[in-house]
């Protein structure tokens, strides 16, 4: 597996100063003009160049003008090394003309099927055409025809005609996964992207080639024809599928008027973070939209009596019912137990622990879950399938799940509070769970889902998914990273922190705030590994915890 690249930190003490569009920039020798330009936020149009891959230099659109250069003043920015006193123009007439020329060449054989192309709206051919070309087609001969709608793997669809042969995908599979499933065959304008028969692109990173395809040649079979890019909004967050904590953006539907579908998650795409995932994420992680979309608990439910159908309730009614039961148990000196899980954010665990320990005086609670470890691949997919196992360990996991279950089974627990722990779903056939749940009188579940666990509850308090809330997670390497709230809470669901806060206050405890930022500051006062950090410090790429978390 190729190491994640970071040219910025490459050790090269020798620095040079150059000007790009009149702005001075200092860059290490060995850096290319396109990289130096990005330091100035000067975006040079490009297709084949990708900072995480080797330089191919084939699309020819990143052309810049080198003032006073010997020979051809127009050179590609992706392969031109910076030099002292170099003067680079990215917007000169020569450059603009050449960009328009290159675009015309790229469009000569490109099909005009934008109306049915998934990439429309986020296609670099469209973007650069609008920015740099806008000339009428002069093509009056036939286009080269190639194949369309070719499934090249379980998750990726290929359209050879749309392909501009930038070879980003080929290089990704050669250099990052080392699986080399794609190649460009033939030559000239008959060059085609293809696989070898029977050797599909089915590695766990295959959807990255969809992300890096600058046009609509490679599309995701999961995302295909599901949503138009311009109806999607993105929220920067962290993948919840394992302990690596890949930085991702989740795209969800948003429309002011046609809003029935608002908040539905459509896809995850990786965000650049050199300390975590580079530019990539695994295909497994891309299944996270189901966490947001499927079986969502949208309405609080109170099971009135043992006979009755569960009845819908307002959040206030459901909270009141929960508080009354817990209070009853507490006042009669009976035990209240709790089960959270490492799916929770640090802040949620923190308030959960306050509820159990400080408010209810119970130490029969656990921050562990019964979910088993899964596969790891020595790259981004971690065996630990919770996003915040490290956070749970840092706060103290409490009892083991089995101890809590034993307590319930023995009949000494009157009320069990479950926070985002789907134990009955993870171990549907485990008799210990059934016995435990039968042993308690009241089951209060805070959950995003209608599932086997939550449907057993006496009170279900629906909470929000990972893209509807803030909070922090600590990944396996000890990096604290932030979630951000994207869409509004689903249905009548509320953030877990709010629900926990209401329970604590209803039971006589105290909560300064249920804002993740403020809860975070509170917990940094108690957790030495986090001391001194603020929520804002975490920025977009997170911060390593001090000491060995």
């Amino acid at each position: 597996m190729a190491e994640l690249k970071d040219k910025e930190t490459a050790q090269d003490p020798k620095m040079v100063t150059l000007t790009i569009d009149g702005q001075e920039v200092t860059a290490p020798l060995g850096m290319t003009v396109i990289e130096a330009a990005s330091k100035l936020d000067v975006d040079i149009p490009h297709y084949c160049y990708h900072p995480g891959l080797s330089v191919a230099g084939n699309c020819r659109i990143c052309i810049v003008e080198l003032v006073g250069a010997r020979g051809n003043p127009l050179q590609i920015a992706c392969n031109t090394p910076v030099a002292q006193d170099m003067v680079v123009l990215t917007q000169s007439d020569l450059v603009k003309k050449r960009r328009a020329d290159v675009l015309e060449f790229l469009l000569v054989n490109h099909p005009l099927d934008c109306p049915i192309c998934d990439q429309a709206g986020e296609c670099k051919l469209q973007t650069y055409y609008m920015e740099h070309d806008q000339q009428k087609s002069r093509l009056d001969v036939s286009k080269v025809e190639k194949r369309k709608v070719i499934p090249v793997g379980p998750r990726v669809m290929l359209d050879q005609e749309r392909c501009i042969l930038c070879t980003r995908c080929v290089r990704f599979l050669d250099e990052v996964t080392g699986t080399s499933e794609l190649c460009v065959i033939h030559r000239g304008d008959h060059s085609e992207l293809t696989t070898f028969p029977g050797h599909d692109v089915e590695n766990n990173y295959s959807e990255n080639i969809v992300d890096i395809c600058p046009v609509g040649a490679l599309t995701s079979r999961n995302f295909r024809f599901q949503a138009r890019a311009w109806f999607l909004r993105g929220v920067d967050t962290v993948c919840p599928k394992c302990a690596t904590g890949c930085n991702v953006r989740v795209d969800y539907y948003h429309h002011e008027v046609v809003n029935f579908n608002n908040g539905k998650a459509y896809r995850l795409v990786p965000r650049e973070n050199h300390d975590v995932n580079g530019f990539w994420m695994c295909d497994e992680g891309r299944l996270a939209p189901t966490d947001v979309n499927d079986d969502r608990a949208h309405t609080p439910v109170i099971r009135e009596t043992s006979e009755a159908e569960p009845g819908q309730a307002t959040m206030k009614e459901a909270l009141n019912a929960a508080i009354q039961w817990i209070k009853g148990a507490k006042d009669s000196g009976e035990t209240v137990a709790g089960l959270a899980s490492p799916d929770c954010t640090l802040e949620e665990m923190f308030l959960f622990r306050r509820l159990m320990k400080d408010v209810l005086g119970s130490d029969l609670f656990s921050l562990e879950s019964m979910r088993e470890s899964g596969k790891s691949d020595e790259f981004l997919m971690h065996a630990e399938k919770h996003p915040n196992g490290k956070g749970a360990a840092l706060l103290g996991k409490g009892k083991k799940v089995s101890e809590v279950l034993d307590g319930c089974k023995s009949g000494k627990v009157k009320v069990l509070v479950i926070l985002q722990n789907h134990l009955k779903d993870e171990k549907p056939d485990d008799p210990a769970i059934d016995q435990a749940l039968q042993g308690v009188q009241k089951l209060i579940v805070i959950s995003t889902k209608y599932n086997r666990t939550s449907l057993l509850s006496d009170v279900l308090l629906p909470s929000v998914s990972f893209i509807e809330k803030g909070g922090t997670l600590i990944n396996a390497k000890g990096r604290v990273q932030r979630l951000h709230p994207g869409p509004a809470p689903y249905g009548r669901a509320r953030p877990d922190l709010e629900i926990l806060g209401a329970l604590i206050e209803g039971l006589g405890g105290k909560v300064e705030s249920t804002e993740p930022a403020k809860v975070f500051v509170e917990l940094t006062k108690e957790v030495t590994a986090l001391s001194g950090l603020t929520y804002e410090d975490l920025g977009s790429v997170g911060v390593m915890t001090g000491g060995d978390a």
Partner: protein
Amino acid sequence: MSSQQTKSAPLTKFQLSKESEKKVEVALSRFPDRRSALLPLLWIVQGEKGFVSDEAVLYVADKIGIAPPHVLEVLTFYTMFKRRQGGKFLFQVCRTLSCEMGGSGWVIDYLKEKLGIDVGEVTKDGLFEILPVVGLAGCGAAPMMQINDDYHENLTREKLDGFIDEIRTKGEVAPAPAKLYFGDGQQGGEKERPVTANFDLKDSHKIEVYEKSGGYQALKKALDLPADGVIEEVKASGLRGRGGAGFPTGVKWSFVPKNLGKPIYLCVNADESEPGTFKDRVLLELDPHRVIEGIAIASYAIGCTTAFIYFRGEFGPQIKIFEKAIEEAKARGYLGKGIAGSKVDLEIITFRGAGAYICGEETALIESLEGKKGFPRLKPPFPAVVGLYACPTIVNNVETMAALPFILKKGAGAYQGLGTEKSPGTKLFSVSGPVKRPGVFEVPLGYPLMDMIEKECGGLLPGSELKAVIPGGSSVPILTAEECQDACLDYESLNEKGTFLGSGGAIIIDQNTNMVDALRNLAQFYSHESCGQCSPCREGTGWINRILTKIVSGDGDQEDVDLVLRTAKNMRGATICPLADGLAMPVESYYKKFLPEFEAAGRNASGVEAGKDPGEANP
């Protein structure tokens, strides 16, 4: 993460003969990097099976240890590799400009009619297949073709009948190459001929003949000098690269960084594919030892102990001659351990391409040698620093090598005494087109172009009037008949006339050739040979070809004609290598110099003369 792809399916379906297996093992152990054996393995497979199947791809991928797509992309890049069983005798009819002027069109039509098959089909008896190809380095013997590896040149209907009968009755056909060198004393006047001195001798390709003429003495002399001394001598001679770019050879050598602790490689470019050029072919056939001696001298100078010579795939017969010569030279101690009694070692490895013009570009040649597609590399870095296997590498043309023995033997001064002050020495020219004696001629640089046509070539054919000359291979700008009158064949004179000496492939054009047709022929070639890497070239060459095809077939108009020019200009200087320029320069110069023909094509095509409403021609 474990690699899923290199584990291929069990190879039960595919097996090679014991003999081929042995060849495979030899090929695998022959190169510093195993992947270099990719093209050789594909040749071995095709040699036995007739084509390369998917099972064969898996077999080769497994042998080399790369993923099957890496085999597939290489296999489909080179046009000589076949993906299906073809005819036992493949008639590859050359369609390059010289051959088209010489009538290749009728050859293909005649064969189609006679054999009852279309291009791409195989006769029912499995014997015959016709394939139009471009540029087989037989331009002086147009029309010509190769039947499998063998040359059959100066084709006539009677000859074609004879070949077909021979194959049907005997199951084989004897090669029928043309004479492309005329050793009858009319060569470049009285001056010395450093490269072709032995061409007149009987059995000039044999080592005895070469030694008898003083061969391998220059190598001994070179080995007595320090390596830097050899470089200095070559620098002083003013020898410039004879492949086309004309870069000073000694200067190029001096770019090689020594003491990097890496091997240094010499790659000799025998990928002669530029339409109109066939000088290296003749040189390799008639005097391979001069080339070998040159390679030994160059290798010593730059500190190389493993030299490669990259032949174009179509040079089957030339490779055989050359490999025989290598064996002879080894036997006499000129190659191998301690060459010519010195402490210097040298091995020469022959390498066969497989049909890709672009591999004549030095970095594409290196890629091909490494078992990859012939994609020119981005520069920097330059091959002298990072070349073959990421080691310092010098790529030199065959003719450049052949000039070295003279320079070392007689001294830089003697070489400089030939030619002009700025273009010293001699150069091989291959002349094709409607002249009485098309062929290869060695003349001192600065030689008048018209003298070449009149004296060396014996003048134009009866009834032919000189219209134009492409002086340096098809990629260079054209000269009109008028410009030819005072043109001299050296780098500077031709630059002054706005063109290049190039490879020395001079294509003579007479009044019978329409320049729009000629340009379309070139466009077909360049679009077919574009490697497909850079977007302007990949899309532009094909687009120009399609527009010109439309114009030539009478469907275009003036706008199309103008579009060809604009598209050509837009490709220029926009790509990694000069292939796109190789089409753009002819487009611009033909258009400029023969404007009336292009305007007429636009008018004709607009349908004005055909009686159509011009408005309809291009709605």
